[in-house]
Amino acid sequence: MPVFKLCLKIIKKNLPLMIMYMAIFLVVSVVIASANKQNEEKATVFTSSRTAMAFLSEEDTPLTRGLKQELAKVAVFVEIENSDEAVKDALFFRKVFYALKIPEGFSEDFMSGKAPVLETIIVPGTIPAVYLEMAVNQYLNTARLYVDSLQGIGQAEVVQSVAKDLENSSVVVIPESDGLVGAQNFSSYFFNYLAYSLLSVLILGVSSIMIVLKDKDISRRNHASPVSRNSMTVQIFMAMVLLTLGAWVAMTGACFLLNIKGSLNVNFLMFMLNSFVFALAGTGISFLIASVIKGRNALSAVNNVVTLGSSFLGGVFVPQQFLGPAVLQFSKFLPTYWYVKANNLIGFLTVFDPEHTAEVFKSMGVVAAFGAAAFAASLILDRRGRLS
């Protein structure tokens, strides 16, 4: 296995570089996964965390005080200056996610049966702000019922009644289950981002080896040796697989260690299996890219397009349910799509019988097929290269 050994030597020489890449992308995965997990938690009403908002009131009446008190259940108030510039800055730096402006004379208008409108400024895409918005409307709509129905009712009485009404809440029961609960699991996010990090590390790693091997003189000498071309390709591929295994073990191992409690279940094993299939497919793809692209600088550009592009379209960075149907139709031609799809399914699995896991294994199969196709393509390209 002389070529295999040569590859190992090249890998060894490039090890510091690869460890650097791996560390960076690992950190990227961990940071995004935890940030996303926090975000997802914030996006529910079950959370105890409250959203930062600015309550910019130009008047101080029982009604505005009552509203502020009610909002205090779901928000923390941040004092900022009541000016466009200050509000914009605060929103820009995420000091507040929601600003509510109450103009002078609002309470009077409201009590006299008019429907005054309050201006709000929101950091777009902030789900918790939606709950704040709902709370404001729920409060004022409830107050409106009293004002409209009971003639001559005073502000103080309205505020008191509304406060009592809004104390009612329903009961939620979350039964125990054998699998993970919901998608907001760290592993689920981590493994999704792995599609980006692992593929990046593989393409960078595989291509730095291939650049050495493809050096015109070395490749000529190799091909003049009594090792058949196919055997050589297989040997190179074996070395790549070894590299892949290393990267895969390091990265999934990190996830396990970071979240041991959440990893001791069947779901984690499924995540592992899924990412393993993806890693092998990634080797095939990296191999194909490295055999098509020649320049070292060009390679990193291609790497960017392939990893970032497939991650965005495959649902790594933008969740698949937010991609339009037309986009998803196209995404089905990307292995990343199937990998993420399988991950998302695994995240929700609580029963592990064939009926429930069939879809997961089907997706894994598609990913594997992509990998095999890429490998076959690079073999064919290699033969073409010999003829010309």
Partner: protein, 378 residues
Amino acid sequence: MFVHIFKTRLKCLLRDKEMLFWSLLFPVALALLFNIAFSNLNAHDTFEPVKLAVVADESYLQDAAFRGALRNVSTGESRIFDLQETELAAARTMLRSNDISGYILAGDVPTLITSGTGLGPSIAKTFLDSYLQMQSSVNSILAKDPSSYEELMDRLNARLSYTKEVSPGGGESNPVLNYFYSLIAMTCFYGAFFGNREVLDVQANLSPLAARISVSPVHKLKSFLYSMCASLLINAAEVLLFILFLAKVLGIDFGEDTGLVVLTALMGSFTGVTFGAFISSLVKKDENVKIGVIIAVSMTGSFLAGMMYGEMKYIVQQNVPVLSYLNPINLLTDAFYCLYYYDTYTRYAVNMGILATFAVVFCLGTYLVIRRRKYAGI
């Protein structure tokens, strides 16, 4: 001499077709993909009704008001729930196999049984709370004035929206834009590959070509500067072409100050190219490692500036504010965003100021290394 070296360098760079093609194509391709991926994100038409079941037991069948309210929000185009009325056992099975987000047990206080705390269960809980609260209001109003029942029912259904979203002066806040701005910043920093090559070709201990040029009767710094100009020109042209593509083809909004957008792009390109020269001078290893460091730094910078995950920029700003000022890619991204978002220029000036400082540091660092004209070893 300037024309001679500059022209030759330009020729060399333009003939490296693969590099030229990819360094221009990669941001364009990524921008297209971003555009596709985000096309649905801003058009809020992706709300999927929450799949929910309600157990059709005694108390549910008797509570006509609750049933009515629940059915009301589960019909029509803009329904909130896809509701199924079933047996308890069936509801349990569906929940276990994730066919529904949860199921409701009616009663004095309705109960939601759910598998998690995600968005679906949240919406279901909000609905139940709001129903209970309204019920409480109705009860207390009727206690005081029983005659108002008919009107009250009408009013219940006529909920008003008391809030209106507005935006202060300048552009509207749009997180998607940040992805494109950070992509421009990354393209600028892709110029680092050019800067790297310039140093490789001038440091006699790094390449035979540089050694050969060093023994010619041309001042080393001059020949470096002349050929650096060619690199700067190519990278700046690429960045400007890319911005033109974003603005004209994808319709990305850059605000009103076209002049300043161009200035920012030129500044970014300059910082990017000099960054590459700086790294190449600083890292005393082979080309592989130099390029590795360039890739690592620019990818990390882009990540922290929010290119892969938009929120990242704000996470950094909130938790480690210093880092957002030490990351030139973030400064550049932010400068573009400021031009779009604010109608004032303080923040923009701060970004550009720090960016200029970086450029100066990169130039100075490169100068300190390459001013050396004799080497300890070749």
